[in-house]
């Protein structure tokens, strides 16, 4: 365990001006060693997550959004492995709030054992995750109450009666009707919206500092989606939780997030405030993504502009910028040769593209 005790200010050096950072990911590589080859799911992912803010992660399927979250949570299992990189978690010591001297502990999560005691004490208690399909992530053979109580009993050292009381409180907090009854129900007895609320309760049971929400509303109807988003917004302001919102729904991102990270083929291509991403996108992929969706209420009946081609499979290595085969602004002899480096193009705005900078990413060797 790599621990450096420092003050709040020391950890605040980040691309996000004036934000304190809770998690710093640098040059993260996660590969999957399968029978048909090595799938390079993450190819040097670097980004910061500001504390107490909502960070959106967007990109097409297969761009590495979910693998990034799973890597941070250390939940990548065989045949996958983190082969390189650093994930620094700035843990705020709980219970030591002597006025100005809050203690921040720096932990490199990649140095911990995925299933080791340190990681297990962080996962579920300080970092948790909500998944897209609540039916497959809740255990069908335990009641909702048992599943929420399991986390409380494991991390909070209370007895069963107290845990049950807390479970009912949490369900109440997420707007579940009849929480005292719901704790005795099995997942199949609940509707989709109620299951997602149960899933959120489970993730929130230990009031985590970071919540990874992986497409939490994709399987829900719009009115239920609106309820869940409203709930997450309330929770975020009430307990100032950091939320990483993984989604491909650009409407949800615009409504929910403070910052946005755009990923393509295992790399971060752009990171900025939500306003800059929508009104001043710098990467051709970000612009293309925004142009390809129908905007509700725009009264426009113009043709949609799809991104040509498809996301290449992660087994093939593409020389140069991974987006160059689909990019409308490709510079031949440059984009297909080198990988552009991540460059600052404005206050809290970074992009990885030769249209904006000539910096070349030094490709580091990854030993398998």
């Amino acid at each position: 365990m790599n621990q450096i005790i420092g003050s709040v200010n020391e950890s605040a050096a980040s691309i996000f001006e004036g934000e304190e950072i809770i998690l710093k990911v640098r040059d993260l590589h996660t590969y999957f060693y399968t029978d048909i080859g090595v799938a390079r799911a993450l190819n040097g992912v670097s980004f910061d997550i500001p504390r107490g803010k909502v960070m959106g992660m967007v990109g097409e399927s297969g761009c590495g959004k979910s693998v990034t979250a799973l890597s941070i949570m250390r939940m990548v299992t065989k045949p996958g492995r983190i082969v390189k990189g650093e994930i620094t978690y700035y843990r705020k010591q709980k219970g030591q709030k002597e006025s100005n001297t809050e203690i921040i502990e720096e932990i490199d999560l990649t140095k911990l054992k995925g299933m080791g005691p340190e990681m297990r004490s962080i996962r579920g208690a300080e970092m948790s995750m909500i998944f897209q399909e609540p039916m497959t992530s809740l255990n069908p053979s335990y009641t909702i109450g048992d599943q929420i109580m399991e986390a409380i009993l494991l991390h909070q050292g209370v007895d069963k009666d107290e845990a049950l009381k807390r479970a009912i409180d949490i369900l109440n907090g997420v707007g579940m009707a009849n929480p005292a009854l719901v704790v005795k129900r099995y997942p199949h007895e609940l509707s989709g919206g109620m299951r997602q609320r149960a899933m959120i309760s489970l993730a929130l049971s230990c009031t985590p500092s970071i919540l990874f929400a992986d497409e939490p509303t994709t399987a829900l109807d719009v009115t239920t989606e609106a309820q869940i988003l409203d709930l997450m917004r309330d929770l975020q302001t009430r307990i100032s939780m950091t939320i990483v919102f993984i989604t491909h729904n650009l409407g949800v991102v615009a409504q929910m997030c403070d910052y946005v990270t755009v990923m393509y083929l295992g790399r971060v291509v752009e990171q900025a405030t939500v306003d800059d991403i929508y009104y001043n996108p710098k990467h051709p992929y970000t612009s293309a993504l925004l142009r390809s969706i129908p905007h509700v209420g725009s009264r426009q009946k113009d043709r949609l502009q799809p991104i040509s081609g498809v996301v290449p499979d992660p087994y093939s290595a593409i020389k140069g910028c991974p987006f160059h085969p689909r990019c409308p602004q490709v510079i031949r002899g440059k984009c297909d040769v080198d990988v552009p480096g991540l460059t600052m193009v404005g206050k809290s705005h970074t992009v990885r593209c030769f249209l904006h900078s000539d910096t070349v990413e030094v490709e580091s060797d990854v030993r398998h």
Binding site: S61, Q227, A254, V296, L304
Partner: protein
């Protein structure tokens, strides 16, 4: 609904559905005695003009898919009329036809399914999948069939060299193209698109939506576009029908429905769509509770337990589906009094 026909020339219409019902029995006990009905579709009336796209929206379980399939007679209706303007036979009553008679109109009515992964037989090559309707209807054989398939694959933007591949070798968007080619093989007039893009990635969605629009223009197709994504429906539809617990609550031209809705449920739906613009953050109208169950719907207006404008009459009387403005229909007691908010505040 019957008085609207006066305004439209019958020849312009392709389909007219009146009071369509599809009930499923709820059985229980040893002798499977029927204890009640799930009214999946409960009195839907609508018409579709030639060459237009009618969007059919609603939340899961509202009966939009069942309505689509009952219109095609893939499911047998419990009641109501389905009249189809067949190019050869003229107006026919689909609900009265038997299997043999139906086979004479089937080639003019096709469907594209939601899930391109489960709607294609994994043991059939692309060629066989697209050829199947042509072979069954004895439309083509031999080299003529081969050429037709080449043509169809080109039409939907696929390379004909891939004809002998199996569905697993294709991505979601490509598979949806195979499904579209199969639906178009018999040169239909009416195509029901049942959530055709909801399983696809955003960038691929745009490709398939553009393809559907091009095909509509080139082949003079008429679509019923069943979907829950309101931004996609706004983009593709000329008119939109909103369903709630088996009934239509509103039907109007797309712009009218989106910008000046006349039913509180439509208003709530429009407010709930997350707008892709960080400078327009508005809190959605809170809809309390859950969608009512079609097995045990509330009294009166099905929407009344969740409606923020509810009055006494709403729980007692079912509001009729009436024309509140020319060609704008709504089933709300207060459609003429409420000032409702559209998709823009």
């Amino acid at each position: 609904m019957s008085d609207i026909k006066a305004n439209i020339d019958k020849d312009e219409l392709l389909l007219e559905v009146t009071d369509l019902k599809k009930y499923y029995p709820v059985r229980s006990g040893l002798i499977r005695k029927s204890k009640g009905w799930v009214k999946a579709v409960d009195g839907v009336s609508l018409f579709v003009k030639k060459g237009e796209t009618l969007g059919l929206v609603g939340e899961s379980g509202c009966g939009k898919t069942t309505a689509g399939r009952t219109i095609l007679r893939l499911l047998d209706p419990t009641g109501g009329e389905i009249k189809f303007n067949d190019p050869k036979q003229g107006w026919v009553h689909l609900e009265k036809m038997d299997r043999k008679q139906l086979s004479t109109v089937r080639s003019n009515m096709q469907i594209i399914f939601q899930d391109p992964f489960s709607s294609l037989d994994p043991r059939m090559t692309v060629e066989r999948i697209i050829a199947e309707p042509l072979v069954i209807n004895k439309m083509a054989r031999g080299s003529e069939l081969h050429d037709l398939i080449t043509q169809l694959m080109k039409t939907v933007g696929m390379r004909p060299e891939f004809r002998s591949r199996y569905p697993h070798a294709f991505s979601g968007g490509q598979r949806q193209r195979i499904g579209i080619a199969r639906a178009l093989a018999l040169n239909p007039k009416l195509v029901i698109c049942d959530e055709p893009v909801s399983a696809l990635d955003v960038s691929i969605q745009a490709q398939v939506l553009n393809l559907l629009e091009d095909l509509q223009r080139d082949l003079n197709l008429t679509y019923i576009f069943v979907a829950h994504d309101l931004s996609v429906v706004e983009h593709i539809s000329d008119r939109v029908a909103v369903m709630y617990v088996g009934r239509l609550v509103e039907l109007a031209a797309t712009d009218e429905l989106y910008y000046s809705p006349r039913h509180p449920y439509t208003e709530a739906l429009m407010a709930a769509v997350p707008k892709p613009d960080p400078r327009r953050r508005d809190r959605p109208i809170k809809l309390p509770g859950e969608v009512a169950s079609p097995a045990n719907p509330p009294s009166g207006c099905y929407f009344h337990p969740r409606c923020r404008y509810v009055k006494d009459i709403c729980s007692q009387e079912t509001p009729p589906f009436v024309e509140v403005e020319p060609l704008h229909f709504s089933a709300c007691h207060f459609a003429n009094e409420l000032k409702l908010r559209g998709v823009i505040g």
